[in-house]
């Protein structure tokens, strides 16, 4: 039977993220994510919360960026964030990410 964290990780995989990326984004590691998937260990609550947070952000960003461009956009340095959006997620720049998401939804005039 699949556990909650399995479903979370699988959801991130459907967003085209690798175990390595999921490990980085959740501040754990590729090995830890693989261990969780193989049921070798259960993630601490803090990692489950981080998985949930990352899913919300990545899902919202994927709703704004063309799917074919998403991976390259995510990894490329972006002046708005002062770093790549990927690094912004790792660094927990949630206010900036939220600003990008909310203003891009509406295309607020600049």
């Amino acid at each position: 039977m699949q556990t909650y964290h399995h479903r979370l990780i699988q959801q991130l995989q459907t967003m085209k993220l690798t175990y390595r990326q999921i490990g980085e984004l959740t501040l754990s590691s590729e090995g830890a994510v693989q261990g969780w998937m193989r049921k070798k260990a259960l993630p601490d609550k803090i990692y489950v919360q981080q998985l949930e947070r990352v899913i919300k952000i990545v899902d919202a960003l994927r709703g704004l960026i063309n799917p074919s461009a998403f991976q390259s956009w995510l990894m490329r340095p972006n002046k708005f964030f002062g770093k790549s959006p990927y690094q912004a997620i790792i660094d927990g720049d949630y206010e900036k990410l939220q600003e990008f998401i909310m203003t891009t939804r509406e295309g607020v005039f600049a």
């Binding site: 709703g63 704004l64 960026i65 063309n66 461009a69 956009w73 972006n78 002046k79 708005f80 600003e99 990008f100 909310m102 203003t103 891009t104 939804r105 509406e106 295309g107 607020v108 005039f109 600049a110």
Partner: protein, 170 residues
């Protein structure tokens, strides 16, 4: 209180959003502000007089987010109809004189003064008309809450690729 020349407006306006966003949604502009509204004080809806203006705003927005326009597609372009009795047209020099501001201030990169103007006019009218900073020959109409309530969405089209802008315009 300065004396403004109030005008009426009736017509179609244009606005682009991400897919699936309500055409009159202003949550983002409320939370993070815009050229004429400081963050978290009141909502404003930014719209263009023409699809050309909406396209220029889209391109400028993409630049401001350091993102290629193509990467932000698909998007939706909405048309809504509005009838307003109480509009302050800032492209009218008499109104600019009333608030002691130049046309250049309206399209400056720094939003400090325009946000002060928006705050000042908040209770004076339903909307303001200004030049587009993205295409200064184009005009924008920016609605306050009372103006947004009078807007009726008439059509929405999906922009899948950049040439779709021209197709819809024609």
């Amino acid at each position: 209180m300065p004396e403004f020349f109030i005008s009426k407006f009736e017509g179609i306006l244009w606005r682009q959003t991400a897919l699936g966003i309500h055409p009159l949604d202003t949550q983002g502009s409320f939370l993070y502000g815009g050229r004429f509204n400081p963050p978290a004080l009141f909502q404003m809806l930014y719209s263009s007089f023409s699809i050309k203006g909406a396209r220029a705003e889209f391109l400028k927005f993409a630049r401001s987010r350091d993102t290629e326009p193509d990467e932000l597609l698909p998007r939706e372009i909405h048309q809504f109809f509005v009838t307003l009795d109480n509009v302050i047209d800032l492209t009218d020099s008499r109104n600019r004189k009333a608030i002691n501001c130049s046309a250049r201030v309206l399209i400056k990169k720094d939003w400090g003064l325009t946000q002060k103007i928006g705050l000042q006019l908040n209770r004076e009218c339903e909307a303001i008309i200004s030049y587009s900073a993205a295409a200064p020959k184009e005009k924008n109409l920016i609605l306050y809450e009372s103006g947004i309530r009078r807007a009726v969405v008439v059509a929405s089209s999906v922009i899948d690729i950049m040439p779709d802008w021209d197709k819809i315009a024609s």
